[in-house]
């Protein structure tokens, strides 16, 4: 079973690297959205610094959403998804493998790109460590919760847009606690508020690690059979 899991994960990573699409484009999207912000609200550094944590998180959510629709859709379209359900691997673990693959190829590159974009928005130096920690904790939740939306809309034409609408509400806690962690540091509050945000974010992430595979597998079963 472990071998099947690793085989699926390795295949997804290999496909992501060869096609080059997914993760790279998400980072590009992240970058361009962040760059549009000063053009929209002006280059005032103090103002940018103030909105930086929130904007970084919102742009990161959108960038992560962008790649979700291919999570199961590609396998659905070429018939691979049928095979994935016929292996010895329970469907829940199939979802886990897909979500982990999505995080490694999309979530992680976004987190790596985030500090660079923080520079563009004049994010205060002390906000970087908590923001990075929050993003590392929070992005897996994005992949796992997103897997539910992707599974719900698999096989639906133009399901990508629908998946975004379905998933975004589930991202709200991640956004709130994620921004909270960085804001507490940037605002110069005591570490207590930031630590609390990080802990709550961790709880959300852990819950999504359970909810995502269960919900995703149930949605796939409902959609495919």
């Amino acid at each position: 079973m472990m071998r099947a899991f690793l085989a699926l994960l390795a295949r997804d990573l290999r496909l992501a690297v060869r096609l080059g699409g997914g993760g790279g484009m998400a980072v590009f999207f992240f970058l361009i959205v962040i760059s549009l912000l000063p053009l929209g609200i002006g280059p005032d550094r103090a103002l940018l610094a103030k909105v930086a944590p929130g904007m970084l998180w919102v742009a990161l959510l959108l960038a992560a959403l962008l790649t979700l629709d291919r999570l199961f859709q590609a396998d659905y379209e070429d018939g691979s998804l049928d095979l994935l359900t016929m292996g010895p691997l329970p469907l829940e673990l199939v979802v886990v493998a897909k979500a982990v693959g999505h995080w490694l190829t999309t979530g992680l590159p976004l987190v790596v790109a985030a500090p660079l974009l923080g520079v563009l928005l004049n994010l205060p130096g002390e906000a970087y460590p908590p923001m990075m920690a929050a993003m590392l904790i929070g992005t897996p939740a994005l992949s796992f919760l997103g897997a539910i939306g992707a599974a719900l809309t698999v096989g639906i034409r133009r399901g990508g847009l629908l998946a975004s609408l379905l998933v975004l509400p589930f991202y709200i806690p991640v956004l709130i606690f994620g921004v909270g962690a960085a804001d507490a540091a940037a605002g110069g509050f005591s570490g207590e508020a930031g630590r609390q945000s990080l802990l709550l974010l961790g709880a959300v992430a852990l819950a999504s690690l359970v909810l995502g595979p269960l919900g995703g597998a149930a949605a796939l079963r409902a959609n495919l059979r």
Partner: protein
């Protein structure tokens, strides 16, 4: 291996698709070494029946049982399903594809040569799937049957896109599988020429 004592039974199967009853009260049983050919007009439910047997489609009524198989696994997990879609990734090479199937479907570490040899694809092993012709893709898709041993083969129009030589090759593989006590359920318009195969004609009651 006790593969010859297997038997696949469908009792009183019904299938409903989009509110329409495709078939009802369908029963058959198949023992190891036997083949069942599904015939009937389009929409009679040949593909639906194969997907139900593979566990890819919910059974509206009735049951499917595999006796003598691995009790830990569903019949679908002991079957190969080859449908209309090839389940191939253009950017993976031929040999990578087969190795993935062996690892994922069968937890078998390595080795893809036998399957590629059997389908006449060994010389294309390192080529990306994107470069293959339709017939080559089809053959690669069917290489799964050999790459991962499973007792039941569910084939939906397996000869589509295959030339005469490849059809003959496939027929040889099917006979070999039956000879080892495996079972085959195939939907086809073509007469495959499998001697002693049972035939199940679907759609007789909705022929009006």
């Amino acid at each position: 291996m006790t593969i010859s004592e297997l038997s696949l039974c469908a009792r009183d199967l019904a299938c409903e698709r989009g509110g329409r009853l495709v078939y009802d009260g369908l029963s058959f049983s198949l023992k190891g070494g036997e083949a069942l050919v599904l015939t009937g007009p389009n929409g009679a439910g040949k593909s639906s029946l194969l997907r139900q047997l593979a566990g890819l489609l919910d059974v509206t009524r009735g049951e499917i049982a595999l006796e003598g198989g691995d009790p830990e696994r569903t019949p679908g997990e002991q079957a190969h399903y080859a449908g209309h879609l090839d389940a191939l990734k253009p950017s993976m090479s031929v040999v990578e594809t087969v190795i993935f199937w062996r690892r994922f479907l069968g937890s078998i570490p390595q080795g893809a040569e036998t399957a590629l040899e059997a389908l006449g694809l060994l010389h294309l092993a390192d080529l990306p799937v994107a470069y293959l012709s339709a017939g080559q893709r089809r053959r690669l898709s069917l290489a799964r049957l050999i790459a991962v041993p499973r007792p039941i083969w569910l084939l939906d129009e397996p000869t589509v896109a295959l030339d005469a030589a490849s059809v003959a090759r496939l027929l040889g593989l099917m006979k070999g599988h039956l000879g080892q006590g495996g079972m085959i359920v195939a939907a086809t318009h073509l007469d495959l020429g499998l001697e002693g195969a049972k035939t199940l004609r679907l759609g007789a009651e909705v022929a009006a």
